[in-house]
Structure formats: C-alpha cells, structure tokens
C-alpha cells in the first residue's frame, strides 16, 4: 500500500519541476459529445474552465495571435469564434455543411475547411466573414494540411482514398495521390518537402514527396499482442525543433508511435488513453498532448523522457486540440 502513494508523489514532483521549465500556456480541447471546450493550464495540467459551445465541436484552430479560437461545430453547420479573453462565442463564420477539420493560412486571413457531408473544401474569408469559394473534392473530405509557404493545400478524402493537392492561388486540384484506405490527417514537414498522410483503416502513414507528388515511403505499425486491424493511425504531428521525430496517434491501439523522420523507422510506442485521436505540441515542443476519445481524457507526454507523465480528465469524446503560448485569463 505504501509504494503507490510514494510513486504518485514522485510523479507530482516531476511534473511540477517540468512545469516551471515549460512556461505558461493553455491547452484547448473540444469535447465532441459534451458540446464543450475544456481549457487546461499548461503549468498545473488542471482543467481551469469548461465552456459550452455549439453542437458537436470537432476541429479547433487558434488565430495566430491566439486571441480567438475557431471551432468546427459540425452539427450547427458553421464555425464558431470564441474570444479567448472573455470565453464567449462572439460570432460565427459560414463553413458549408458539417465542417470537421480546418487549417489557417500562414497570413491568418483564411480558413480552409473540410465539409464532410458535401464533398467540398470551403475557403472562408475571416475578416469579411464570407465563403470565398467551394472546391469539389473526393467523397468525405477530412484532413486539411497547408504548406509552410501557404502555396499548397492538401485535403484527404476518406472514401475516395486520396490526398488532393490544391494550388491555393488557382484553388484548383493539381494532383491526386492514391493512399491507403480511409485517409485522415495530412501534415507538411516544417521545410515543406514532405506531406505525411495517415490512413486509418489501411493502418499506414504515407509520406508524399511534395514536389513530385509521389509516395516515397509508407510506414506500417506493429504492436505485440494487438490485432493489426486495431492499429488505426489518425493524428500526426511532425516536430520542427530539430529532433527529427514524428508522432502518430494509433486510435483504438491506444498508442502513440514515435517515428524517426530520416529513417522512417518506428522507434517507440507509448501507451496513452483509449481511442487516441489528435495530437498537439506544447509551444516549446517539449510535451505532446493527445485527445483520447473513449477514455475521455488528455494524455500528457514528456518528449525528452518519451514518457506519459499525466492524464487529464476532460469532457466526453475529446476530439480536437489547440495550444496557445499565452495563459488563458
């Protein structure tokens, strides 16, 4: 009986120590089932606030100055804009039906939104609060990745099994890359040379050369004791701090895979909560946060130690993640 309490104290001390190093920041988590946003303090790793928003919040993105949070409230068929200071929804943006995931352009003026039900990518002008254009894509568009220079938009379509490369000047599809079954997240590397696309049912991550638009490598995963079909890659985060490590959320496998971005080898699997969905780095990339849909919590991973240091209980079906370098409130 004595040992566990000793261990708890130890973990507490470690996280407190790290917290002082990490600086003040806030983590925003959308809870799909509860229609809320949980706000976690980056120091204490405690939920400080829970804000009620529209129906079925999923993809969330902070403005570049972290003053507002854009939220795909999927069942409201619009994007809601949350003022981070007041924690009030100030207005909505038109998004097209059933918005799920979105990305901001580098200038912070436009949102690219995947409309899951209507096979469209909608471009929204944030200042004008208008829809600029709708781009027809494959069936069930999902992931949206924007290249670091803002010139390319990569959208995945879950039933068509493709990554569509859209030129952001012409807003036309210029290439379609066939990937494995049910592609989800698309992420550019920091230098813009590669796009990593996760395939949930295919069980792989495809690495696409951004110039030739061809697949240069496919990563497969294997966890001892788990049936291959339960390994379902979804969230992808690619480090830009020189560590050359990528992190892949493996869904019902309840693991995050750490992948070497040079060799594409999986180096380690970390056990996190159930049905791990999306991932986000802390501002200094010393921690990774995961949303775990079924267990209703957020796992906190210390990236130096490559160890899960805490799990934070949030609402039901946590889905999206956004992290602000500023402390909320």
């Amino acid at each position: 009986m004595k040992r566990p309490s000793y261990r708890v104290c130890f973990v507490g001390a470690v996280s407190l120590m790290l917290a002082t190093n990490a600086g003040a920041y806030s983590i925003y988590v959308s809870n799909e089932k509860d229609n809320t946003i949980s706000i976690i303090d980056g120091d204490t790793l405690k939920v400080t606030d829970t804000v009620t928003v529209g129906e079925r919040p999923r993809g969330i993105v902070l403005s570049h100055d972290s003053s507002v949070l854009y939220m795909c409230t999927s069942d409201e068929d619009h994007v809601e804009v949350l003022d981070i200071n007041t924690l009030k929804v100030t207005h909505t943006l038109p998004s097209g039906p059933d918005p799920e995931l979105m990305s901001l352009n580098p200038e912070g003026t436009k949102l690219y939104i995947a409309n899951e039900d209507d096979n469209l990518v909608t471009v929204v002008n944030i200042d004008e609060r208008t829809k600029d254009v709708e781009i027809p894509v494959g069936i069930e568009p999902e992931g949206i990745g924007v290249s670091p220079d803002g010139k390319w938009l990569v959208n995945t379509s879950e039933t068509t099994n493709m990554a569509h490369f859209i030129n952001t000047d012409t807003l036309k599809i210029e290439a379609n890359v066939l990937v494995d079954t049910r592609p989800r997240v698309a992420q550019f590397t920091g230098d813009g040379a590669e796009v990593w696309v996760s395939s949930e049912i295919g069980g792989t991550v495809s690495i696409i050369d951004a110039d030739s638009k061809e697949i240069k490598h496919k990563i497969s995963f294997e966890v001892r004791g788990l049936a291959p079909e339960s390994i379902q890659p979804v969230g992808v985060k690619l480090s830009t701090d020189g560590s050359n490590l990528a992190y892949i959320a493996l869904g019902p496998a309840a693991r995050v895979a750490i992948v070497n971005m040079e060799t594409y080898e999986v180096e380690k699997y970390l056990l996190v909560g159930q049905r791990v969905w999306n991932l986000e780095f802390s501002p200094e990339q010393d921690r990774l946060f995961t949303t775990n849909g079924v267990s209703g919590d957020v796992s906190v991973i210390d990236l130096k130690k490559q160890r899960v240091i805490k799990s934070v209980k949030v609402g039901r079906f946590p889905w999206g993640l956004a992290i602000s370098p500023d402390k909320q409130g």
């Binding site: 039900d117 879950e158 039933t159 068509t160 099994n161 036309k172 599809i173 049936a227 079909e229």
Partner: protein, 408 residues
C-alpha cells in the same frame, strides 16, 4: 456497349426489364478532366422483380428493389475515384421476372457474358448464376445461407452479407457477456426460419448457453393490416409462451410474421432477441459510429429513405470492386479476385475495423451490430472472445470448421 440500342434492335422480351444506369461523371480539376477513360468496368446487378412483402409493423415501409440504391451510391463513390484515375464504371440493372429464368434474363441484358455480377438473389438463383458464369466474379449481396459458405461454396462467389452463423454468433456472444445463459427458441413455419433457428442452436452450444425449451409457431397469419389485431395477440402469446424459467426468448421469424408480437406479451417478462427485438444485423438505421452518420446521410440524400442491410451489402460490393479496380488498374475478374483475397485488401465499411474476405470461403469478415428497434446496443465480437488471427473470425465458420473445398 449500349443496351438501349441493343434492346431496341432485338425487341427481346426481357429488354423491358433491362435498364441502363447512366454514370454521372463528376468533373473535377483540369488534371482530372484530362484523364482519358482507360478502363471500363461493367457491373451487372441482378435482382428479381417481385413485390416486397408488407412489413408487420406499420412503421416500416415497403421497399421496392431493396438494395439497388446502395449499389448506386457505391457506383457514385467509385466514379469519383475513377474520374481522377481514368476508370469508368457502369452499373447495369437486370430485373429478372418473378417466374423468369435467371440466365435468360442476363443473356438478354448483354451482348457478352458478364464478367462482374452483383447478385441480389436467393441461394438457388445465386448458384444458378455462379454455375452458368464460372469465369465471372459473383458478389452475393442477399443470401445469408450457411451452406453457401460451407459445402455449397463456389470458387467464383464472394459473400458480402454475414451468414446466419455469423449473425447468431454475434448475438450469442453478447448474451454470454450478459450471462443471459438460459434461452428458449421459438421457430416460425418457413424453411428460412428453421435455418435461422439452426444457426441459433449452433451458437448457443458454441458460447456455452443452454436451451431450456423450444416451440414452433405454426399458425398461418391473416391480413397484416387490421383494425383490432392486438386483442388476439394479447390472448395468444401468453398461452404460447408457457416456458420454464429462462433469461431470453429467442425467435426465428425471418419473414416477419409473428416475432414482433412476442415482446411485452410473453408469460414471463423476458427480452426477445433474434429476428425481432434485440437483433444481430450487418446494418441499421440507428448506427452512427465510426463515421457511419456520413454514409447514412449520403444514402438518404439519393434514396429518400433509410439504408437497409441489402443497401449496405450492395454498397460494400461496389466499394470492394472499386478498391480492387483502383489498385490493380484492371477489370479482369481473376485479377480482381486475387487482389480482394490478398493481404493488401482493406475495406472501410464504417464498422471501426478494416473489412477483409476469408480466403477459405469468400465470406466478408465484419463486426455484427446488435440493435434494438431504435438504438444500437452493442457491436460483436465482444471483448474477451479471442482468436489467434483476427477476433472477427470468432463470428461464423472459422477456417478449421470450414467444409468449403473449392474456393481457392
């Protein structure tokens, strides 16, 4: 080929039943637009022109050509991918007259023997087609018969719907998990009811449940729509259900004649499960997990009704073909079958797992939904039912039990 021209010229009797479904080619980007149709896949969809039975409950609607709309949705989905790759898909609907000959109808529909057939047919018709076109790849989207997966399997037939054995196993695993071990079995008067009951009995034994009692419902139903039907049911059902103490009342009534009467009327207040009540199924209107809401909405948009099991199987058949054609760049049945049975084939079916085919009998592995009339209750396989290859093979005939010799 142009069937309308053919039919106009030939004035064949069956031409009245043959319709060509025009493919909607979605035009995307400049690049996609440049793609030339390098490959054309003609898919024949076979179904009988029979009037659907009137459902026992007024809530359920009669569905004309049940399943075909699912194939149309699958066609649209494939065509979108195809438009990016220069693959063209055509879906040719062949309505076989109620008393007509299946092979004659197919012959009337095409100038060449079909290479890819989606069969919305019963077991007898399915075997007729499979044997008449041994070089074609036949995808069964209707028949649930166990013998088609076992001794009567065919080398050229893939099965999309779960067999009765898979359905019964899906239900029995949940009953075992609930420790509802003591069951009674009520069987209807039709041959398919007996087959369903047989599958239940197999699963009961397999998962350690126990049959306390059995009874057969033999009365011939009268008119389905009557003004005061509940009075007789309220008298008849308690008298019919004089069973010893049990946990669940299992019913085998595939044609929906009486099973719906059992709930809330049985002598003991026990849940009803099987073909009515708590029901194992491949698809249900209440299923919304793993992105299923998206396909339910897409389907309702084109069909203006809910998606049925046959629609789901038909959609899966089209998507399985689409995946194989996309990946092999071929519409040759041999190449398609080889890819479909390879380890590379992974089908997304809104069930939270990749679906694949059993290489020993051509059955699609899939989780089984266990539903109440208005809500999903659980999805089998249940936790704790383990298998050395895939837990999905705890449902239905596993490889060591397989009596199918000719499939591979």
């Amino acid at each position: 080929m142009n069937f309308i021209q053919y039919c106009t010229a030939s004035k064949h009797n069956f031409c009245a039943y043959v319709k060509q479904v025009f493919v909607v080619v979605l035009v995307f980007s400049a690049t996609a637009g440049n793609a030339i149709a390098e490959l054309e896949a003609d898919i024949f969809y076979l179904l009988r022109d029979i009037e659907p039975p009137l459902p026992l409950s007024l809530i359920d609607k009669r569905i004309e050509k049940d399943g075909f709309a699912g194939a149309q949705l699958g066609l649209n989905d494939n065509q979108t991918t195809g438009s990016f790759l220069g693959h063209k898909y055509e879906l040719v609907e062949v309505l076989i007259p109620a008393q007509g000959d299946v092979v004659e109808s197919v012959q009337a529909a095409g100038l060449n023997p079909p290479k890819i057939i989606v069969a919305n047919l019963n077991a007898i018709d399915l075997l007729t087609v499979a044997d008449a076109y041994p070089d074609a790849l036949v995808l069964n989207v209707y028949a649930r018969d166990d013998h088609l997966r076992q001794q009567e399997c065919r080398a050229n037939v893939l099965h999309l719907p779960p067999s009765r054995a898979m359905l019964a196993d899906g239900l029995a695993q949940y009953l075992a998990w609930k420790r509802w071990n003591k069951v009674v079995v009520v069987t209807g008067r039709h041959p398919e009811d007996a087959l369903y009951a047989e599958a239940l009995e197999r699963s009961i034994k397999r998962f350690g449940l126990k049959v306390i009692d059995r009874n057969n419902w033999t009365s011939v139903p009268g008119a389905r729509r009557t003004d005061s039907g509940h009075h007789t049911a309220q008298q008849e059902i308690p008298a019919f259900t004089q069973f010893k103490e049990h946990d669940v009342l299992l019913v085998a009534d595939e044609v929906d004649e009486f099973g719906e009467y059992l709930s809330y009327r049985s002598r003991l207040p026990r849940p009803v499960a099987g073909t009515q009540g708590l029901m194992p199924t491949s698809w249900h209107r209440s299923h919304e997990q793993w992105g299923a809401t998206q396909i339910q909405r897409r389907f309702e948009k084109i069909a203006n009704r809910i998606m049925t099991e046959k629609d789901y199987s038909s959609w899966l058949a089209m998507r399985a073909l689409g995946e194989a054609i996309t990946n092999t760049n071929s519409a040759d049945p041999v190449a398609l079958k080889e890819f479909i049975l390879s380890g590379k084939f992974k089908l997304a079916g809104f069930k939270g797992k990749a679906l694949s085919f059993r290489t020993y009998n051509g059955q699609l592995r899939q989780p089984i939904l266990v539903v109440s009339p208005r809500m999903l209750i659980t999805v089998s396989p249940q936790q704790g039912f383990l298998h050395q290859l895939t837990e999905l093979d705890t449902l239905g005939f596993d490889e060591p039990e397989s009596t199918c010799k000719v499939f591979k």
